[in-house]
Amino acid sequence: MALLELEGVEASYGRIRALRGISLVAEKGEIVALIGSNGAGKTTTLRTISGLMHPAAGSIVFNGKHITNEAPDRIVQLGICQSPEGRRLFTRMTVVDNLRMGAYTRSNAGEIKKDMDRVFELFPRLKERRNQIAGTLSGGEQQMCAMGRALMAKPKLLMLDEPSLGLSPILVETIFDIVREINAQGTPVLLVEQNAHKALEIANRGYVLETGAIVQTGTGKELLESAEVQKAYLGM
């Protein structure tokens, strides 16, 4: 049984149809990359999975349970958490308080503390800045904080929306290393990226999204070598 399965999902903003029947699968242990150009519908896909918007058609099944029309807070409880596009930190709270908000659905203080330590291990910079107001962090630090915050939910599936956006090349490298590390520690990742090359390099499998529909899928390696992908997304 797949961890997450989308079947013919359609979604729209008013009259604008953003998703035209998306089917995709994420298995336990995988990194799945979702690539596509601006406006293809990547963010909309994640928002729909998270329950921030509900599909007009199709179904979403997570861990064998229909979550198609569940409320976002239920979906977090079931184990899907995302670091959204644009980070969306609580800019007037400290780094630590942001991380604590990530653990909002959890109650075991001991485990929360342990995960906080784990986040600080992954992102030592956050530990230094733990009492800084999140709105005053640099862009890279904010990205780390957003990823850390999502991890604090101890998700069974972590979704990252463009974690490398706007970061320096070195930091992009670091972020992708950390994604790999998070996955190696046992968390499946659904990774939305503009940086198709890097994303496909670390992904087990990938999907290519174009104007609200999936046009291609395969292992990361296959997609990296595919002529269409190379032409459209890798600039070769």
Partner: protein
Amino acid sequence: MGGGFGPLLSFLATTRGGLDGHLVGALRKARSSVQSSLVTRVIGIALAAVVIIYLSPKVYALGPSYFLRIVAVGVALGAIYALIAIGYTMVYGIVELINFAHGDVFTLGAFISLPLLVTPFWHLTEETGGGWGIVLPLIAVFLIVMLITGLINVGIERVAYRPLRNAPRLAPLITAVGVSFFLEGVMYLWKGAVNLHYPDLLPSNRFVGGTFSAKDVIVIVAAVILVAGLAFFVNQTKLGKAMRATAQDRDAARLMGINIDRTISATFFIGAVLAAAGGITYGLYINSVNNGLGFPIGLVAFTAAVFGGIGNIPGAALGGLIIGLIRATNDGYVDPQWTDVVTFAILILVLTLRPTGLLGMRVPEK
């Protein structure tokens, strides 16, 4: 309710129903340039100087104990304004609604408390008098009224505002005005449009040469306890933190697993709890209430909230105190007939010169 709604509504409509509409957005941008913030400061200092020069001889002539009396009344009234202003600011912070019915929720608190003053368990009347015996019953009345009013406000949000949560901002603003009329109408049918006597239960002993009365002190202490409780709740409890998160970024809050319907309900509950406590306190302090009281007092408290920085809780408390002091000063040294003019001139000045208020958000939003 008076005829005050028409122009006010059209003003708010032009600002797209919220203080963060186009107009204020533009003003905010203008303010960010060094020059205009300098202008703001110069105007502020010049105004303060004029006021001080104008008032000093009067303050001197009327003597220090009169001055202290004015301060005591100002702080006590300010404490009540603060209790109301906090509700305005919390609701605005979380749903960006200027809740025009909030002042009437304050009156409702006072109205609901009236029949509860005399029950099979206690008799809180002027005849049975004060003494320590009234402490526990009075606290019980406060708690019961706060609970009832809080629940009513949760119901109001559910019926009048929640269905419009994704509608244009002007829509819930209009239903808020509707709720205001509705509440005033209900209270009118209940008790009529007359000034109701509210029993004078608090001791009226005076201290410091007659300047401070026990009443002032009790009102101030009650407000301080309530605001401290609120601060603890908002900063230390999980639900309080969820409310702050929802106010800062609703979608992000939902992605953390926060049930925002619940946090919004909680916000309306707490806003009403404080307003209801303010209503009882007002009754005990002024000893007179009427069904239309909430509208003018609500506007003053709204001014206090804007003055402190709308959306900012400590700002609302501070704004309430300052507005209370300004109004008492004007009442005592200038002319009570001008007090509303002064209050709303302040509202206009703050909106045009410093829309973020005294303690407006200092941290970038995104």
